[in-house]
Amino acid sequence: MLSIRLISAAACLLLTLSGPLPASADIRVGVDWNGDGLIQTQPGTRVPVDAPTESEPFTFWLNHDQDDLNTGGESWPIRRADSTTDIKDSFRDLEDFNRLQIEIDDLERYPDDALLELAWLNGEGGAVNLYRATDPSCSRSYLLDRAAGEAQLAADVLSSVGSVEALSFRMRLGALGEPDLDGGGFCFLFDAAGAGRDSLVVSILHRGEVLARSEPVPVDLRHIKTFYQRTTMDWPEDVRPPWEYTTEPPPVPDLQWRYDRQGYDFQPPWWETNDEVVWVYGWLRSGEGLREMATTQAGETIFKRLWHRGYRGRLTFFHWPTVKPRMAFGLLESEYRAYKSAPALLDFVSTIDKDKRVHVTAHSLGCVVLTEALKLGLEVEDALLQVGAIPASAYDTRPVLTLPDMANVVTPVTAEEGGFLGYVASTDTPAYTMYNFADVTFFGWNIAQRHMKPTSRRGGYRYAWDSQAPSGERARLYYRTGLFRSDYRIVTDPHEIMAFIAQSRTHALGAETRMRGSIRRVFDLARTPFDFHTGHVVGWTRSAHETTAFYNLLLDIWNIAYVSELL
């Protein structure tokens, strides 16, 4: 794919050669600086002007990931950044593009052999690849409409406007073909290949003379990891799984969150509003480099989609120490760790400025962390549980939710004895759920509740619930002490009981459509326009075209203004 890269030093030289010339109103450079979905370069209407300044520049991220899988996913590890190749990529790649609109008054008066030049004012700008947009109205349809996205991807080669090898972008006006914007200019898309902060200037040159020059447009291009926060924490190496503690209860791990740089510090952008979203990850694969993979593929996609929908608050991803070596191994141990991770979440939230509107949301097994945090008294603007992998009965104690085939299972039921019923019977934080009854994950979750609990390992340990034993001694961990001998430890930690012994008598919160109790509102992801079908991680695995409504819904739940799905 041919593209243009602006290389700052050369551009500076070009500007020097061209000589200084007062900016002209003949050319205006438009970007969606304020994120309202519109590009407005001139005052005079109700639409606010997009007016980047030195202190509040147009800011966008580098296209550093590798969105090249036919499945619509991303390659990992990143072998080459999308911005460095001519390979046609996927819809996912389009999320790393933004619009650049060049308006030229009386375009027809310029000769065909006049040159359109884009250059950095001070030679400090980042490298940019420039593509001709297929939509002549400079809209964001490439992100919103599948057909428009396909057209943009298909047209890349034909509509490219220059060569990567060029030292700066100069092209004959006549070679650009039919103008856009009803004859009033040209529409481009760009992605950023290198970081930098400078002002972009567009000029029209003819035979060494500068015929017109735009006002400089300050632009700040930087790595996406500087746009949002990440935290992580490690499970202490000296704390073993709880079933390995036989004669004494397992120690309470001292989990401490820390910022997770991954090579970049967070830099609060000038646009930050008073909202902060804390997003608790679900059950991630554990292993070398996999947290970084999830950050790039899930976290960054979530950030980008919220950003494109108009969100300008802070976003922090909260990572906790899951266990998932492969497939579905480690589910219950991860649940146990989730309970233990909640104090760290509370601690992190307590560090956020008290004046902020804090929204905490969790996905899937992350909802265990959030549930425990609510139990511990988390007080924030709202708590949103997305397809929560925690029993519905934790929030709604009505018998109607009890599954007929689970009604008589002998298991701890009430929260007092280590069961789930009414675990979060009330909360000062309004709690909401997004559910999907068709989510295939809950099929497995239900199997785990029925057949993996109480947990045991042949020849090793065995958790049990002895309903005939005195109260307080019913939850037990049996372990071998000899060939034909065993002993037991009484399990008193409700987290250990819930994770390894207690079977859910209800569907998971994320599959239950009838929630009431301490859940204030519910949102159905199976229905149009969300159409999650059987998907569990749809929000960041499907294309942006299919998730626009989902991200608008997130913002709507948080009472945060969002951009029209048509913009």
Binding site: F443, D556, N559
Partner: protein
């Protein structure tokens, strides 16, 4: 090779295990949610059960759930040709609302069925007080009502002439809709309200995320919140007033298969007071809108009184002037 074989055996064993275990697993169903029931109650035209003896009603309702439902339908073009592949969704009123309060009946949405080569579909194994049937044919417009509520329980006022026999199916007629007659989307996104009581003029059929000049709006909305005395996270009184200049609106009712030609009010107000047991800092209302030029639309008005303080309109409008909004 042997490793592959071994992997396959393992995979087969795992799949078999899942299938066996799966048989023991209760799958979740799409029951009506709290929001659905609230929506359903709002869209009913009054309380259709108001004349039933309240003492006996719980038992009556419970018995009504056991009514056998048989439904036969056929989907055709205006010329009488069967339409294959039409999507039919049935919501069966098969359980009671818990707690038992208006509208008393709740439903479960069945997986969609699709019409066969003869344009036929049927539901024969259902039990419930009634069923809501909706037919959709992509790219086609309804000529007869594409969705209806069928009451099967005698005690609740059984619908006359229920299509319980294959020889007398309910007929759903559709016509092909040219592109220029396709319904158009309304989606304003969040329209921020400037301040309490300050009206915002909005355009619904063209995009104007910052509103339009006074005197040119297709809708005027103002909202007011009594926040002065309210502690953080405390309830507050609020209201929103909507006007459709030169046109009007009315609440969407579940038995409306197309926009009514009369019954519109130009202006109306939603009030939420702190003593309302259903108090919320947000509300959604489904409305049928008649624009000043006589065209019709369906919009959901979302009012968000906390946080960014905005309203949003989402729906469709019919550019032909027809009253159909499906």
């Amino acid at each position: 090779m042997s490793a592959n074989c071994s992997d396959r055996v393992r995979l087969c064993a795992l799949l078999c295990l899942l299938l066996v275990l799966g048989g023991c697993v209760t799958r979740a169903q799409q029951h009506a949610s709290k929001s659905d029931i609230s929506w359903f109650a709002r869209t009913l035209d009054g309380n259709p059960f108001s004349e039933i003896d309240p003492e006996e009603f719980p038992d009556t309702a419970r018995e009504a759930l056991d009514t056998r439902i048989e439904f036969h339908g056929i989907v055709r073009s205006e010329e009488g040709n069967p339409l294959r592949g039409a999507r039919v969704t049935a919501s069966v009123f098969d359980h009671l609302v818990d707690p038992f309060e208006f509208p008393y009946f709740s439903f479960t949405v069945r997986p969609p069925v699709f019409t066969d080569d003869q344009g036929r579909f049927r539901f024969t194994r259902e039990r419930g007080a009634g069923m809501y049937v909706q037919v959709e044919v992509p790219g086609w417009a309804p000529v007869t009502s594409p969705r209806n509520l069928y009451v099967y329980a005698e005690s609740l006022g059984r619908t006359e002439n229920l299509p319980t026999r294959p020889t007398a199916p309910e007929v759903f007629v559709f016509e092909q809709r040219p592109p220029e007659a396709q319904l158009r989307r309304i989606h304003t996104g969040a329209l921020r309200l400037e301040d309490d009581g300050v009206p915002l003029e909005a355009s619904l059929r063209t995009l104007a995320p910052h509103g339009v000049e006074p005197g040119t709006g297709e809708a005027i909305i103002s909202c007011y919140r009594t926040l002065e005395d309210a502690a953080p996270n405390a309830r507050f009184d609020w209201w929103c007033e909507l006007t459709i200049p030169g046109g009007g609106f009315q609440p969407f009712r579940i038995n409306m298969d197309q926009a009514p030609e009369s019954g519109y009010v130009e202006s109306g107000r939603l009030e939420m007071t702190t003593d309302d047991p259903r108090w919320d800092d947000r509300a959604d209302r489904d409305l049928i809108v008649q624009f000043a030029d006589g065209k019709y639309g369906f919009v959901r008005v979302s009012m968000r009184m906390d946080g960014d303080f905005f309203v949003a309109f989402d729906g469709v409008w019919n550019p032909t002037g027809s009253t159909w909004l499906d």
